[in-house]
């Protein structure tokens, strides 16, 4: 349990890094690292580690930690952007929001009716904090890449919550969920790439042609 909480704590720290950083590479890196951490978690959580669990862990770590960040980095280089500029929610307010959110997540998780074995775990607060971070990035950032990272972190949060159910849900379902999530992110990555080519930019302020 302590190992798990340590990993979750790290992931929560990475949330703050992603919120506070203005440089896109560091956001991508923080997201990637969080993905790898998430990949490790099932190994820590499960008591009897079969090949399926290892496969899921490796797939998660590879997908979230390597493939998608790689895609994003390629798009970033192609678009020649390094920095997030003029975000809708500034970096300091984002960071404050993130910190407050983390505290709130801890408080809220305490008031939720959790099973006794989950009461001490950081899984629920970690999930809430990551989801909040994801939302802040999705709502507050201008560059498409930051938004995709936000979406990834948001999904990481959900993944963390899903770990509560590990062991009680059939593996087939878990694998399906994972596959869907990965494909989803992959498709998003592809679209980002296409947008970069079509608009020659990844600034979402240019993506407001469709409006009332």
């Amino acid at each position: 349990m302590r190992d798990l909480n340590l990993l979750i704590g790290l992931a929560m720290g990475l949330n703050l890094v992603a919120l506070g950083s203005s440089r896109l590479p560091s956001i991508i890196r923080a997201t990637a690292l969080q993905g790898v951490l998430l990949g490790i978690m099932p190994l820590v959580l499960e008591h009897d580690i079969g090949w399926q669990v290892v496969a899921v862990a490796v797939a998660t770590a590879l997908g979230k930690g390597v493939v998608i960040p790689g895609l994003l980095q390629r798009a970033m280089r192609a678009a020649h952007i390094e920095r997030e500029i003029e975000p809708f929610i500034g970096f300091v307010p984002s960071l404050l929001l993130g910190a407050l959110g983390t505290i709130a997540a801890l408080a809220v998780a305490r008031s939720l009716p959790l099973l006794p074995e989950h009461a001490k775990s950081l899984l629920v607060p970690g999930a809430l904090a990551s989801m909040l971070t994801g939302f802040v990035l999705l709502i507050g950032r201008v560059k498409a890449i930051s938004q995709v990272c936000g979406y990834l972190i948001f999904e990481n949060g959900i993944y963390l919550f899903g770990l509560l159910l590990i062991g009680s849900t059939p593996l087939l379902v878990e694998a399906g969920v994972l596959l869907d999530l990965t494909v989803g992110i992959f498709v998003i990555g592809i679209i980002v790439d296409r947008i970069q080519r079509a608009f020659d930019s990844l600034d979402t302020r240019k993506l407001t042609v469709l409006r009332e």
């Binding site: 950032r141 302020r205 409006r211």
Partner: protein
């Protein structure tokens, strides 16, 4: 003889005519006249004492078994629909012919059939679900008929306004029938007066049907729709279609219990409609718009009768209620006939001159003698003057009101109010139709269009002649119509059985006949005697002014000027004025426009408010994905709060 076969025949002929309408105009004409005649025959049978006809089929539509019913109340309206449907079709054959309107004439015929068919169904269906279906298809058919000449922007916007208003009414009926069926557990319609809990539903029906009937503040769609529609369509819209609203109000105040205030409200709105409708009519400068507003007045008169009957039935089934309802029902017929006639006459004028502007017409009696003659009959009838039919029904309503006053019950106050307003409205109607008749047909032509006018063909004159003949017949022999009307009254209120014509009605019939004889004799004598003394025809004397021009004639706006001033508070006349300046003024201008007050000063601002809200809301969808995700978060929070609040309780 039974009415059922005739009705089935009518439905079949009308359905066939809808199919035949696009390709074969003559077949269509034969079928629709046959259908109209069969419908009228079925109604006449029921109205002359044949048992009412009721039929339940095993055939299901929308999950409900077909249920048709023709009782005396439906028959009163169905007879009118049959007559106007047939007459209007004949008129359309000349007025909106394939030669003149190759694109829209076939469509017009098909929709005409649908309109008449669906009105027939509205009057006979006895199932709430099917009633709504027929009601809406009637409304939509009317919409497509109004916009037959879709090229003109005015026509399109008039059509849309009609459609929008009609839809608002239909939605009220939607709620009405849904609530009715939710309360009773069945879509089937029929007498259910015993269930007192149903009384509040009347307000929904009053709104829904009131929109269609053109009750005063709900009339906003009516003037422009009736003015811009092709004239045969205006004729059936004003003559029969708005009566469907009256039918609805009557039907469901007869079958359902009504709240105690219903009679007061209906008689109040009726009286106000009568007065304001005719005040607006008098001020109009557009021939067909004037006629349209006059329909508002006449619906008001009808509803005064209906409201009075409701008051009487709550005041212990007082006898005067029957007179009022009989007057209202007779006025349904009368108004249908003379307004159909007038709109057809207006159509002939429009056909001949291409304009509806009173200020461009004039002196048409010489070029359109037959149209003028029949229009004059319509004018006399609509002004409620003896010895024509308009007077008889108004007289019945007045008599009922006077009786209500002398009975000195609480409803006397409503009757006093209504009688005063009706009297004023009557005088205004006379003024309006002197104005119409004079500016269109008398004096000198005010423009080249009027000077080169030509008389309409026989297909247009014949139906006008038929309607005029019916107007005269109903005027001179009201006792002929009485049994029919009395059965209609009995169908509305079973405790008011049909009796023989009251003595006073017989007397008025005799008086009408005698008066007509006297008038015709007087006219003939005068014409023969005095024409012999005709020294010469000369320029109008005009106090000696020797070079009169047509533009010096009193115009429509100046004729109505005094009364427009009195009703300034509701008419809001808009004036564009350029005074003559200098010694030798070159130009001067005076334009008066009467706005659609309710539409422009009430509906339009409210609509603008909605549009403003809408455009404000539309700014929320400004293309920024970040905001869209924020909305998701907000929705999540709101839903969470709702659930929390529910949990807290």
């Amino acid at each position: 003889m039974r009415a059922g076969p005739w009705l089935v025949l009518a439905l079949a002929a009308l359905t066939l005519s809808a199919v035949a309408g696009r390709r074969w105009p003559r077949t269509w004409l034969v079928l629709i006249v046959a259908g109209g005649a069969a419908a009228a025959a079925a109604s006449v049978l029921v109205l002359s004492g044949a048992p009412g006809w009721e039929w339940r089929g095993a055939f299901r539509i929308g999950g409900e078994a077909l249920h048709l019913r023709l009782d005396a109340l439906s028959a009163v309206f169905l007879a009118l629909v049959g007559v106007l449907g047939g007459a209007g079709a004949v008129y359309a054959h000349g007025y909106w012919s394939d030669a003149q309107y190759p694109a829209s004439a076939p469509r017009g015929r098909a929709w005409w059939s649908v309109l008449v068919l669906s009105m027939t169904l509205v009057l006979t269906l006895s199932n709430g679900l099917h009633f709504l279906v027929a009601w809406e298809s009637f409304a939509i058919a009317a919409f497509f008929l109004i916009t037959l000449d879709g090229g003109a922007r005015a026509v399109r916007s008039a059509g849309w306004l009609y459609l929008a208003a009609s839809h608002a009414g239909t939605l009220a009926l939607f709620a009405f029938f849904a609530l009715l069926s939710a309360r009773t557990g069945s879509w089937d319609l029929g007498p259910m007066n015993a269930q007192a809990a149903l009384a509040p539903l009347f307000w929904l029906a009053l709104f829904g049907f009131g929109v269609k009937a053109g009750l005063f503040p709900l009339h906003v769609w009516l003037p422009s729709a009736h003015a811009n529609a092709p004239s045969h369509v205006s004729a059936i819209m004003s003559g029969a279609a708005i009566k469907m609203g009256v039918y609805g109000i009557l039907r469901f105040s007869g079958w359902l219990p009504v709240p105690n205030a219903a009679g007061w409200v209906v008689i109040g709105f009726g009286a106000v409609s009568a007065l304001l409708g005719i005040a607006f009519a008098f001020a109009q400068g557009d021939l067909k718009r004037l006629l349209a507003y006059c329909s508002v007045e006449n619906v008001g008169i009808i509803l005064v009768g209906v409201g009075g009957a409701m008051l009487a039935s709550t005041a212990g089934d007082a006898v005067w209620g029957r007179l009022l309802l009989a007057g209202a029902l007779l006025h349904v017929w009368n108004h249908g006939l003379f307004k159909g006639l007038l709109f057809m006459g207006a159509g002939s004028v429009l056909h001949a001159t291409g304009t509806r502007e009173l200020s461009r017409l004039g002196g048409l009696w010489r070029r359109l003698p037959w149209t003028s003659l029949m229009f004059a009959v319509g004018v006399l009838a609509v002004a409620g003057l003896p010895p024509l039919n308009g007077f008889v029904s108004e007289w019945l309503v007045y008599l009922g009101l006077f009786d209500a006053v002398t009975s000195r019950g609480p409803s006397a106050w409503a009757a006093i109010f209504a009688a005063l307003l009706l009297g004023t409205a009557g005088a205004l109607a006379l003024a309006s139709f002197v104005k119409v008749g004079a500016t269109v047909f008398l004096g000198a032509p005010r423009g080249p269009a009027a000077a080169k006018a030509h008389e309409s063909g026989r297909a247009m004159l014949a139906p006008m002649g038929a309607l005029a003949a019916l107007c005269v017949t109903l005027g001179l022999a009201p006792t002929l119509a009485w049994p029919a009307i009395a059965r209609g009254v009995a169908a509305w209120h079973p405790a008011w059985p049909a009796t023989a014509a009251p003595l006073a009605l017989q007397a008025i019939g005799g008086a009408q006949l005698a008066l007509a004889t006297l008038l015709i004799a007087g006219a003939i004598v005068a014409w023969h005697q005095w024409r012999g003394k005709l020294a010469r025809r000369a320029l109008t004397w005009d106090c000696g002014y020797a070079v009169p021009t047509a533009r010096m004639q009193y115009s429509s706006a100046s004729f109505a000027g005094i009364v427009t001033g009195w009703f300034r508070w509701i008419l809001w006349p808009r004036l564009a004025l350029r005074r003559p300046r200098g010694l030798l003024p070159a130009r001067a201008l005076r334009l008066e426009r009467i706005p659609e007050t309710v539409l422009e000063l009430v509906i339009a601002p409210v609509g603008a408010l909605f549009l403003q809200t809408a455009s404000g809301a539309r700014r929320l969808q400004h293309g920024s994905l970040q905001a869209y995700i924020l909305y998701v978060v907000v929705a999540l929070a709101a839903l969470g709060a709702m659930v929390l609040e529910a949990g807290a309780r």
